[in-house]
């Protein structure tokens, strides 16, 4: 499945209809700046019949009926060429409604056919049509026990496109999201949490009963990703003593164009499930952000090398709190030699609904490497046997070279991270400076 959403600079909605609706505060006059794309109808139909149906503009949809069969090539080559014009038309329409278009958020999965194939096809279209607009991609990477057999193929082919056409990628994996939800699940069931779960919260089903041991609590997991995006844009949407715009993310966190994969962590996590827990101590929140249990991908940034780190704080947190925690945590973190003290920070006065503060950490860290290495290994195991390859090669425009190029692209990226890791234990020396005559 795949989504494309665009956010304007300040508002994530545009207003339709007359001004009267606005003054009455009706939500039905707000429309998401979004284009929904899927090559099957099921999911999109569900959304359009659900509680948020009025938020989405029914004209900003692109659907088909047959689906991509978990085949990147079908999504990218077949549906890409089929729907290119229509996609462009919808995008241009959305862009016209923006006073100032700053970036695109693309949200998709890597392991399937549509999100992966058509989603990455979209990246190229965006780059050509709107070259100055940033492309942020939130990609769901397949976990180890992923049930789509061809997910390694799809992911590798998609990775090449992300390498070349995305400004910034936030990799996320379902396993991590599931682990987080499970932890909350355990805490709820063990009765550690004193207060009741709020009704109509996201971990309760419509019958009001808390779902225990669900197969995959996708709604709750997706809610975490939604909160990630909320926090990412909070400083652009609300006031604060140290604002951070979206274009500053790329500027500060992408030191070299190809190294644009950012590991994200959110704290506090419990509240995402709408569970009533007393707020953590402020400093504990900062510590949590660096723990591997709070990362949205299987990664341990603490034991790898940081190239850059951004801390985006919301709520009643001041500069001295931020400085105190950076000083406290810095000694246990390893930063690359040329960016020993490189932190990007922002303070947004408005906390998330119902909470006093929150923190989103984005790290450009070599701890993404294992994810890519694993992906490559799973790919090779499959590719060596030529398993399911014919499904791809029979698509016009697909050749074996597509695969070999994709693997090379990924290998080169892994190699970059290897070289950086090699510098980890080297002593940091100041380079000799320019000599000037006085």
């Amino acid at each position: 499945m795949g989504y494309l959403m665009t956010f304007s600079h300040v508002l994530s909605f545009r207003v339709v209809g007359d001004g009267g609706s606005i003054s009455k505060g009706k939500i039905c006059s707000l429309k998401a700046r979004a284009v929904l794309i899927d090559m099957e109808e099921g999911v999109v139909n569900e959304i359009l019949q659900g509680p948020l149906r009025d938020v989405f503009d029914s004209k900003q949809l692109i659907t088909d009926i047959s689906g991509s069969g978990n085949n990147w090539a079908v999504g990218h080559k077949v549906f890409g060429s089929l729907y290119q014009e229509k996609i462009l038309e919808k995008l241009r329409k959305s862009a016209e409604h923006c006073d100032c278009l700053q970036c695109f958020f693309i949200i998709h999965s890597m392991g399937g056919g549509t999100g992966s194939g058509l989603g990455t096809f979209l990246l190229k279209v965006l780059e050509d049509e709107f070259p100055e607009v940033y492309r942020f991609v939130t990609s769901i990477y397949p976990s180890g026990e992923d049930d789509v057999i061809t997910s390694p193929y799809n992911s590798i082919l998609a990775m090449k496109e992300l390498n070349e056409h995305a400004d910034c990628v936030l990799p996320i994996d379902n396993q991590s999201l599931f682990d987080i939800i499970s932890k909350i699940d355990v805490m709820v069931n063990s009765g550690k949490l004193g207060a009741a779960i709020k009704p109509k919260s996201l971990v309760t089903s419509s019958t009001g009963v808390f779902k225990k041991r669900q197969e995959k609590p996708f709604d709750a997991m997706n809610n975490i990703v939604a909160n990630l995006l909320l926090n990412l844009t909070s400083s652009a949407r609300f006031e604060g003593s140290l604002n951070m715009d979206l274009n500053e993310i790329s500027m500060n966190l992408v030191p070299f164009p190809q190294l644009h994969y950012l590991v994200s962590s959110l704290t506090p996590l419990y509240t995402l499930a709408d569970v009533n827990i007393p707020p953590r101590r402020l400093d504990q929140m900062f510590s949590d952000a660096f723990s591997k249990d709070h990362q949205l991908i299987r990664a341990d940034p603490r034991h790898s090398l940081y190239l850059a780190c951004a801390l985006m704080v919301r709520g009643n947190v001041q500069i001295s709190d931020l400085r105190r925690n950076i000083e406290r945590l810095k000694p246990s973190l390893q930063f690359v030699s040329w960016n020993q003290e490189g932190w990007k920070t922002s303070l947004c006065s408005v906390p998330p609904v119902g909470h006093s503060h929150s923190l989103l950490a984005l790290a450009n860290n070599t701890c993404v490497k294992p994810t890519f290495v694993e992906l490559k290994e799973r790919f090779i195991r499959l590719y060596k046997k030529k398993a399911h390859l014919h499904h791809y090669l029979q698509i016009e425009g697909m050749e074996e070279s597509c695969f070999s190029e994709a693997v090379s692209s990924l290998s080169a990226l892994i190699q970059e991270y290897n070289q950086l890791d090699a510098t980890k234990s080297m002593p940091v020396e100041d380079l000799p400076r320019l000599n000037v005559a006085v």
Partner: protein, 474 residues
């Protein structure tokens, strides 16, 4: 010598109209510039309307009038308008700033004195300088021109900006250059905020060196405030537990106010100085190669403590002098072991940034005293030639301005503006970090994308290394 006869008061009353101050137009750039600018105007206004000036009513009125002429123009309904132009590339901060001022009910910004866009500079100096600058040049310079036209007599420009971000730094450098071209006879002082050492912005060192090198060529004086130093003042002297940027900005505004509020134009004079910027430059920037200035202010404390403290001029000046020579930024933790070299002997060898700096040599100093019996304060210790580099006569290197009228709630307060070696170490650190990053070529693609090439970086490094070397060799 002017005799303080009753009839002299009468003449003062009539004549002070002729001696009204020249005006300063403030340009506030980016989030930092606008947040600080608000605090500065607020501090200036509130101080000038402080009822307890510790001086005669006439003097107080003259002080008020002088401050007003410098920093405010008048609207029809009598509400003073700050002589300021607000510039930012995104709207949130300017909107906040405008409403905060209007809410006070006492002064405000002009509704049409702002220039704003929808999208920031992305912390990118190149974007601020090469894209926003040329694109919005006409609009911004028009706004400035309108503000200048409201002044009877223009002393110059006060430009408030940070150097870590993209707008204040890049667009600030561009605007300053434009001011140099279009107002060549007016003076420009840039108030630059240096970011925390453990960053706020990852590319802050790049943005800093590009800003400083460009400003060095186009500005007349760079008045520097370091966030780290002001933060310590908040923590140690003001005893603030949870320090916010608002706290930091208020301390900064206090320091600037103590420099820019009216002062008497000479020993025994009872007229306020007309040309604040001109006088500052004349005293402190004798040579264009040396234009980095720092401010120290004493005493600085929370209002609660103030009620229980008294100070003597002798005590204040003693501390201030030691702060200068030991390079302390506040009156706590001063190293009293540091001594100037003995008079008559040559200086203690060339200063090296690597060695622990023991003694801070000055090019020029200006002490500003405000409050009770200021005229009786003895500043002799600041005239010691050992404090200064040898190529200026001490009589030219040191100046003092004294004013009876107290500043804010301080019965006695002293400010020191110096052109000295005290900024060398911080500058050296910034250049060093930028150089290390530059050597790895990290983030350069973000700058070359907008026309700032490696050449431009190298030029900046070269210029700043020269500045460091020049100051070291004093």
């Amino acid at each position: 010598m002017v005799l303080r006869l009753p009839i002299a008061h009468f003449f003062e009353g009539v004549c002070f109209g002729l001696f009204l101050s020249m005006s300063i137009v403030t340009v506030q750039l980016g989030q930092c510039g606008n947040q600080i600018g608000f605090e500065v105007f607020d501090a200036l206004f509130n101080d000038s309307h402080c009822p307890r000036g510790l001086c005669s009513k006439k003097e107080n009125e003259a002080y008020q009038a002088s401050c007003k002429e410098r920093f405010f123009s008048e609207e029809e309904n009598g509400v003073p308008l700050a002589r300021a132009v607000l510039v930012d590339m995104e709207p949130k901060v300017i909107n906040q700033t405008l409403s905060k001022a209007a809410r006070s009910g006492r002064w405000k910004y002009g509704q049409h004195s702002c220039f704003c866009q929808k999208q920031g500079s992305g912390n990118n100096w190149a974007y601020g300088y090469s894209v926003h600058g040329p694109r919005h040049e006409e609009s911004i310079m028009n706004l400035i021109r309108k503000e200048v036209e409201k002044c009877d007599s223009l002393s110059g420009f006060f430009i408030i900006m940070s150097m870590a971000g993209g707008t204040g730094s890049g667009l600030g450098a561009f605007v300053t250059q434009n001011l140099q071209d279009q107002y060549s006879s007016a003076l420009k002082m840039n108030q630059i905020i240096w970011p925390y050492g453990t960053g706020e912005v990852i590319v802050q060192n790049y943005n800093s060196i590009l800003t400083l090198s460009h400003l060095y060529r186009s500005s007349d004086a760079l008045l520097v405030h370091e966030n780290d130093a002001v933060h310590k003042i908040c923590a140690k002297l003001m005893n603030i537990k949870q320090i916010s940027f608002c706290d930091i900005n208020q301390v900064l505004a206090h320091q600037l106010g103590s420099v820019f509020q009216p002062t008497y134009s000479g020993e025994g004079s009872f007229h306020y100085r007309r040309n604040p910027l001109g006088d500052l430059m004349e005293n402190l920037v004798p040579h264009p190669e040396f234009k980095m200035l720092g401010v120290r202010n004493i005493p600085q404390m929370s209002e609660n403590s103030l009620a229980y403290s008294t100070f003597t001029w002798a005590g204040l000046l003693k501390h201030l002098r030691q702060m200068l020579i030991s390079n302390a930024k506040m009156e706590e933790g001063i190293d009293w072991q540091v001594r100037p070299p003995l008079s008559g002997l040559p200086p203690l060898g060339k200063m090296s940034v690597n060695r622990e700096i023991h003694f801070n040599t000055s090019i020029a100093n200006l002490v500003i005293l405000r409050g009770k019996d200021a005229h009786s304060a003895d500043v002799g210790a600041f005239k010691d030639p050992a404090l200064y580099t040898s190529w200026l006569e001490p009589v030219h290197a040191f100046n003092v301005w004294k004013t009876q009228r107290a500043f804010r709630k301080y019965e006695r307060s002293a400010a020191l503006v110096s052109n000295s070696q005290s900024l060398v170490k911080p500058l050296d650190r910034i250049v060093g970090k930028a150089w290390n990053m530059f050597a790895s070529r990290a983030y350069l693609h973000q700058y070359t994308k907008f026309g700032i090439e490696e050449e431009d970086f190298l030029d900046s490094f070269t210029l700043l290394e020269q500045v460091i070397a020049s100051y070291c060799n004093l």
